[in-house]
């Protein structure tokens, strides 16, 4: 199971990084989502992988799973979900406004000199 989880995190991170390095907004946002999925699973695994163990103290139970990473993941999921929504809205606004969805700065075609004379 460790191999499965670890390789899943690795592949998702790699794919996310590749997409984040693209030039247009949509693949970059997809890449960000993949990265946040990867980091959520990673956070979950940081409390060690345990199967079928309760996270809360009970009588006659000896093996527990760590409850803290689950709380951390919950926070991280909520935040990353909200942030993705924000970036989709801002990216959409920028695309609709300038009809261009490159994430990098396009070369400035207007020369300062001509602007100064107007």
């Amino acid at each position: 199971m460790e191999l499965l989880v670890a390789s899943a995190i690795g592949i998702m991170t790699a794919a996310g990084l590749y997409l984040v390095l693209r030039l247009r907004t949509f693949p970059v946002i997809l890449g960000m989502s993949l990265l946040t999925y990867a980091v959520n699973v990673f956070l979950f695994a940081s409390g060690r992988l345990t199967i079928g163990a309760p996270p809360i103290l009970r009588d006659d139970v000896t093996a527990y799973t760590d409850p803290l990473p689950q709380a951390l993941v919950l926070t991280a999921i909520v935040i990353s979900f909200g942030m993705t929504a924000v970036v989709v809205m801002i990216g959409l606004g920028a695309f609709l406004g300038s009809n261009d969805d490159h994430v990098d700065d396009q070369p400035d075609t207007s020369t300062p000199k001509s602007e100064g004379q107007t």
Binding site: V20, T25, V28, I29, M32, L35, T36, V39, N40, F42, L43, A45, S46, G47, R48, D66, L68, P69, L72, T75, A76, I79, S80, G82, M83, T84, V86, V87, I90, G91, G93, A94, G97, S98, V103, D104, D105, P112, K113, E115, G116, T118
Partner: protein
């Protein structure tokens, strides 16, 4: 247990929804509540700073859960100084936003402003790394809204870059926190400081990765080269008052580096040796050089100011990465100076914009009131470039003095002094093009109803300059205080024992250890 320390977080958190819900159509009421809130925050921050100035550490356990199980807020000299600096800066920025009418050019400026303050103040006060992440997100999500305040295509495009860069930063932060938790089983800073020393020399792979990842995250926030690329566009395109407030946000990164790398990963710790002097110091020197070269190369005034922010952060980080008490004391003095000077320059660049189509560095006929603006720019440029008589000069002297005797002293002195010269050239070029050459231009047809900046705008900029003057006049006292802050940082036992040993719910009885 005093409850005042949580007030800087709770007050803006209550005020912001109140402004949205109760006063959303009344800009006057919003302004009154926003200013009143910030004034109240200043008095609370001053009270907190006075309370801990004797070297004590204030602790607040949320819901009385004992550390490391609950989240704690901790106020010591460093965090209360930063809180005070933020609130004072926020007052003048807010006054400028009101005076220039920026707050009325889009919706919800004041609510976002309060949320922004909540995030920044919380990040300074928290004693828990995951809570630090949460406050970073609070300040970021408010800053996304403020950054694209008043809209416009160029601003939205810069906003997309800013948001995406910071999302990657947040993801890195989570990776760092995950690896720290996997290695140590705690995220409380004081608890971490104790547990990191327990890790055996052969099992340090994970914690070293975590330390580097965490440094990367804070370096993104502090705009350290080569992670500074997000800053020039974002700060240049953001509305001027927002950019002025953002001057404190890079300092949040610097604060986090100081806090984490003096307490959890101190310079004498075997695990992270080499991180400070081999990696951080050269990166800081490079960003100092890049920033000041950018000042000379910039084609627009707002970009010029943004690059000067990068340069001044480089200066701060050079001094921090020495990780000596004298270095930290000098860095803190310079942080206060560069925050005020950077914010003032952003506000002045907005004053310059009045009556001009854009901020391109090309001659443009003079407009009404440009003499006063030119004078203010002159003072701001002197402050930022570090010329006497203002505090930038004293700060730079302290930086050079603290670097004296270290191995890389030649490099540090050459780059600090050389980049100062370049930045003086850059500011002189910009000022002479904008203000002197203007008089050789043909005025052309009368532009007619050019609105002059209001008195309140000038009052806000003047207020920042009066603070800079006070920072210069009382330099001895301020530097004495920052020296005491540095002494407290390098003796973290009081901090750690206050956090760990204060009883609360769930704390173990002493005999069970």
């Amino acid at each position: 247990m005093t409850h005042w320390i949580i007030a800087p977080v709770v007050l803006p958190a209550l005020l912001a929804p109140f402004i949205v819900l109760a006063a959303r159509y009344h800009i006057g009421i919003q302004r009154v509540f926003s200013v009143a809130g910030v004034v109240a925050l200043i008095s609370i921050a001053a009270g907190l700073a006075w309370q801990v100035s004797d070297g004590s550490v204030l602790l607040y356990q949320l819901s009385d859960w004992a550390a490391p199980f609950g989240i704690v807020l901790v106020g010591d000299r460093l965090s209360t100084l930063m809180v005070l600096l933020t609130t004072v800066l926020a007052l003048f920025v807010l006054l400028y936003a009101i005076g220039s009418g920026w707050d009325n050019r889009g919706r919800h400026f004041h609510a976002l402003f309060q949320f922004q303050l909540m995030g920044i103040l919380g990040a300074f006060l928290t004693g828990d790394l995951f809570n630090l992440f949460v406050f970073f997100e609070v300040l970021l999500i408010a800053s996304y809204g403020l950054m694209i305040h008043a809209g416009g295509n160029a601003r939205l495009r810069a906003g997309v870059q800013y948001v995406l860069f910071n999302l990657v930063g947040s993801t890195l932060f989570l990776f760092a926190l995950g690896s720290i938790y996997a290695e140590t089983g705690t995220l409380n800073m004081a608890d971490l400081a104790q547990r990191v020393t327990l890790i055996g020399p052969e099992e340090t792979v994970g914690i070293r990765v975590a330390a580097v990842l965490l440094l990367l995250v804070f370096a993104i926030k502090a705009a350290l080269a080569p992670l500074h690329f997000w800053l020039p566009s974002s700060y240049a395109e953001a509305p001027a008052p927002v950019a002025a407030l953002f001057a404190i946000m890079t300092k949040v990164g610097a604060y986090a580096i100081i806090r984490v790398y003096t307490m959890i990963f101190p310079p004498d710790l075997e695990v992270t040796s080499g991180l400070h002097d081999l990696w951080l110091l050269p990166a800081a020197l490079v960003s100092l050089a890049i920033g000041m070269l950018g000042v000379l190369a910039a084609k627009k005034l707002d970009r010029l100011v943004a690059f000067s922010i990068i340069g001044s952060m480089g200066m701060v980080m050079v001094t921090i990465s020495l990780f000596s008490p004298a270095g930290i004391a000098a860095a803190l003095y310079y942080i206060v100076h560069s925050t005020l000077a950077g914010a003032a320059l952003f506000l002045i660049s907005d004053l310059v914009r009045t009556g001009r189509a854009n901020l391109n560095l090309v001659p443009h006929p003079p407009v009404m009131g440009s003499a006063l603006t030119a004078g203010l720019f002159f003072v701001g440029a002197i402050a930022m470039a570090g010329l006497p008589p203002l505090s930038g000069f004293l700060g730079k002297l302290l930086v050079l003095d603290s670097a004296y005797g270290t191995d890389l002293v030649v490099w540090i002195w050459v780059i600090v002094l050389g980049s100062s010269l370049i930045s003086i050239l850059g500011f002189a070029r910009a000022g002479s093009i904008l203000f002197w050459k203007a008089h050789s231009m043909d005025p052309g047809e009368d532009p007619g109803d050019v609105t002059r900046p209001t008195v309140l705008s000038y009052v806000a900029v003047g207020g920042l300059f009066s603070l800079l003057t006070a920072h210069t006049v009382f330099a001895g006292q301020v530097h004495g205080y920052t020296t005491r802050i540095a002494a407290q940082l390098f003796a973290p036992d009081a901090y750690i024992s206050t956090v760990i040993d204060t009883p609360g719910k769930l704390s173990k009885p002493k005999e069970d250890h």
